[in-house]
Each structure stands twice: as structure tokens, then as C-alpha cells.
């Protein structure tokens, strides 16, 4: 509206909100029930047996509602990453 608005610092609250949402989604996975943590580790270990896992390309998502937890593991597999069977 006012030209002075342009010079104001960008508001920080939306950044805080986004950071928290990302962080807590992760922390709820790692500090939540042991079962989910166990599943995450074992599933990734199984995949790692067959595919070169790049940590940057693995996304673990967790959704916690009152009665159900949803664990979503998203692994990006590049075409040349498949390990050759020895």
C-alpha cells in the first residue's frame, strides 16, 4: 500500500510457522513410538540392500492423528543407482 511497506523487513511469523511444521513433522517421527522408528530403519535397510541410497533423496513423512499414524517413505531411485548383483 504505502511505499514504505517495501522497505519494511519481511514478516517473520510465517517463516517461524513453516520451520516449526517441518521440524515437528520430523521430531514426531524420531521421538514418537518406537515401532515407527523401527519400521523406518528396517524399510530403508531393505531398500539399501538393492539400491544405492542417497540420503538427500529419501523423504520420510509422518502423519499423526488421534488413532492412526501414517508413515510415508519416498525414495527417489536414479536409473543408474541399482546395485549390480555380484
Amino acid at each position: 500500500m504505502s511505499i514504505f511497506r517495501l522497505f519494511r523487513k519481511q514478516s517473520s511469523a510465517p517463516v517461524a510457522r513453516e520451520r516449526l511444521q517441518l521440524l515437528l513433522a520430523h521430531e514426531r517421527v524420531s521421538t514418537g513410538s518406537d515401532l515407527v522408528q523401527l519400521l523406518r530403519e528396517e524399510i530403508l535397510a531393505v531398500i539399501a540392500k538393492h539400491v544405492e541410497l542417497d540420503n538427500e533423496r529419501v523423504q520420510v513423512k509422518m502423519d499423526r492423528t488421534e488413532n492412526v499414524s501414517i508413515l510415508e517413505i519416498d525414495v527417489e531411485i536414479p536409473r543408474d543407482a541399482v546395485k549390480q548383483a555380484a
Partner: protein, 274 residues
Amino acid sequence: MGKVIVVTSGKGGVGKTTSTAALGAALAQRGERVAVVDFDVGLRNLDLVMGAERRVVYDLVNVIQGDAKLPQALIRDKRVETLFLLPASQTRDKDNLTPEGVERVIGELKEHFDWIICDSPAGIERGATLAMRHADVAVVVTNPEVSSVRDSDRIIGLLDSKTVKAESGERMEKHLLLTRFDQARAERGDMLKVEDVLEILSIPLLGIIPESMDVLRASNLGAPVTVADSRSAPAMAYFEAARRLAGETLPVTVPGEKRASGGLLSKIFSRRAA
């Protein structure tokens, strides 16, 4: 039988002790019998905030270890007749709090009081887990600030797993008390909004306490803020929160909000409380 409330937060300095004193006093000012219990063994402060620091003879650890009977240790407030304080020990450490001892003391308090309000120490160690252990209801005190919100999230996890209620498969009732809130800064986008915190923590809102000089003033004087100045903005917000704790349904007002109330926030509140 009295209802046991734990006032907890994970993070220190967000207003647990202030809120314990204010909510306890507010309930007692309605004529109900209230005991506020300081679980911060080694770093007690509830006595100071309530202006009873010179009257402490026995404490929670004395009662647990059998050195004193509960009625000997309880300190009656000089201004509000039905308000009592059970102080924490200043000299012993928190290892003196045993699960069995805490259970016995809480059980005894429940027979004599309508409300037992436990002021939890910061952190997630023994003192904090014992303070929440026997609670029927949790008040999660949170500042609109990232580290406080994160720690509250951790505490909510503990409330859902480490309490007697949770362990016996019951749902732990949890309420958010947003403290040190500044509506003008939230409107400018420089502070998390009430809706942001509610969405992230997804527990129902008990009240919004505005950032205010009256809170420090009250603790300087050694009186719960609802007693020191019952017409101040934080006192009114605590009175409202106490009424909600007692089961009344009231729309949550945002202190300092310019718009007419009954807008988005009350919709959020009614939706979450439903």
C-alpha cells in the same frame, strides 16, 4: 474428589509458575478449595510468586518422607481463604521425589480439595514427569515463539504416554494456554498467530494471556496476578481461563484485538473444543 491439573511446558520461563498461581487463585476466588503444589524441587519459586516465601516451614519432600503431615506443610493464602500452597524443597534434590510418595500426597490432597494444581519444573526429567503423572488435565503453557512451541510438542507427547491416564488407555485432557501474546505484533506478522500455534499443536485453547507489565508487577508484590489487580488484562484472561477449566463454555477473546470478537478465533475454539 478433587481434580488434578498439571501446568507444564517443557521450556523454562514461559509462565508456568505465574499461571499456576493465577489459575489457582482465580479458582479459589470463585470459592473453590484449591491447593497449588510446587514440584520444582531445588528451585522453588511458587512460594515467592505467591508471597508466602517467609512462611515456609515444611515442604513436599518433608511430607513425602514422613517428616511432616500434609496439614502442617500446607500454607493458607492470606488474601484468598480457600487457596493453599504446598511448597517445594529448596535444599534437597529431585531424587527425593518418589513415585509412591507423590501418589500418596496427591491422593490425600484429592480428598480435601476441589482442585490440585501442580506447577511442573522445566525440562522433561523426573520432576516434570512426576508432576504430570497423576494429572486428570494438563495445561500446556506456550509462548508464541519457536522453541517454546517445539518443547510444548514434546511435552504433549509425554502427556500422551507417561501419565497414569495414558498408561491405562484413557485420553489425557490437554489445553493450550498461550502466554505473553502480543496481538499487535502478531498482526504485523512478527509473532506467531494464535491460529498458527493451535494448528501446530492441535490441542484446544484454554486462554490467551497478553504480554503485560502487570505480570511482573504482581510477582514483585508477591501476589497472583488475579489478586494483585483483578481488573488488569492478564487477570481477566486468567479468570476466563479458570472458568473454562471449571467447565464453562466461553468464546476466547484475543486481548488487544481491534476487530469485533466472535470471528475466526471463536470458530477455531468451538471447532477444537467440539
